[in-house]
């Protein structure tokens, strides 16, 4: 059972309220594809991923990034039931998408760096700690139905 203190929940929801999900999602996914280029293997149908500029400007990357981070928003509304929230998505990522769960951890780390760059000194060590905990738990929930 995941345990969140009231302070941890506040650090999450407080920051999330200020996040532009579309921009942040687009940036996080783009950086994932740029920093860890092997992750591009899942996006053959996305068109031009030939350079960082192409990736950042790619409309499919932007749209998918928004989708991914919107789903993250669902997790934040259900912090006490991440397993339930991600059950179907976990099956999807295993059975249909065939995504190695390590990729969820990589995206989580990238998201942290993006949040740090947006919130700068407001992204305190305590804030980072809680968010790393969250992305770790989301990654774990997404991997849970793998078989």
């Amino acid at each position: 059972m995941v345990h969140w203190t009231a302070e941890e929940k506040q650090l999450i929801t407080g920051l999330w309220g200020k996040v532009n999900v579309e921009e942040c999602g687009a940036e996080a996914l783009a950086r994932l594809l740029i920093v860890y280029p092997w992750t591009q293997r899942f996006f053959d149908t996305f068109g031009n991923l030939s350079s960082p500029t192409a990736i950042v400007g790619n409309p499919k990357v932007r749209a998918h990034g928004k989708k991914v981070l919107t789903s993250f928003g669902e997790a934040i509304k259900n912090l006490d039931n991440l397993k339930g929230t991600y059950s179907k998505l976990s099956e999807l990522h295993c059975d249909k998408l065939h995504v190695d769960p390590e990729n969820f951890r990589l995206l989580g780390d990238i998201l942290i760096v993006v949040l740090a760059s947006h919130f700068t000194k407001d992204f305190t060590p305590a804030c980072q700690a809680v968010w790393q905990k969250l992305v770790g738990l989301v990654a774990h929930a997404l991997a849970r139905k793998y078989h």
Partner: protein, 142 residues
């Protein structure tokens, strides 16, 4: 994993811009690592790890100096960090997984203090560089 000429140039330029703040970044990276990944504290039972600790600041300075040294000798990181590599293999024996954790925290510090510096390209280059440093430091473990 190979550092391209562009990566090397990005890393050198990044450390150039970071300049004298590297020591501060090193200390903050350690602070963030201890808070975010508490298991890393097990390597420092002899340290005061409280906020503002002089020992953490001092150690952060050492870590930063090593990164700067590696950046300044980016064509031969193994050579530049050879003694440190011996030290980690023979004496410190920090589990290899922890270098990634510190690397992540260092990137977060750069992002938090200097977001304009961390373009996607520089982010990629710095991440690769930090990986390379970790690889060198653990190269002689077995």
């Amino acid at each position: 994993m190979v550092l391209s000429p562009a990566d090397k140039s990005n890393v050198k330029a990044a450390f150039g811009k970071i300049g004298g703040q590297a020591e501060e970044y090193g200390a903050e990276a350690l602070e963030r690592m201890f808070v975010t990944y508490p298991q890393t504290k097990t390597y420092f039972p002899h340290f005061d790890l409280g906020k503002g600790s002089a020992q953490v600041k001092g150690h952060g300075k050492k870590v930063a100096a090593a990164l700067v040294e590696a950046a300044n000798h980016i064509d031969d990181i193994a050579g530049a960090l050879s003694k440190l590599s011996d030290l980690h293999a023979q004496k410190l024996r920090v589990d290899p997984v922890n270098f990634k954790l510190l690397g992540q925290c260092f990137l977060v510090v750069v992002a938090a203090h200097n977001p304009a510096l961390l373009t996607p390209e520089v982010h990629a280059s710095l991440d690769k560089f930090l990986c390379a440093v970790g690889t060198v430091l653990t190269a002689k473990y077995r």
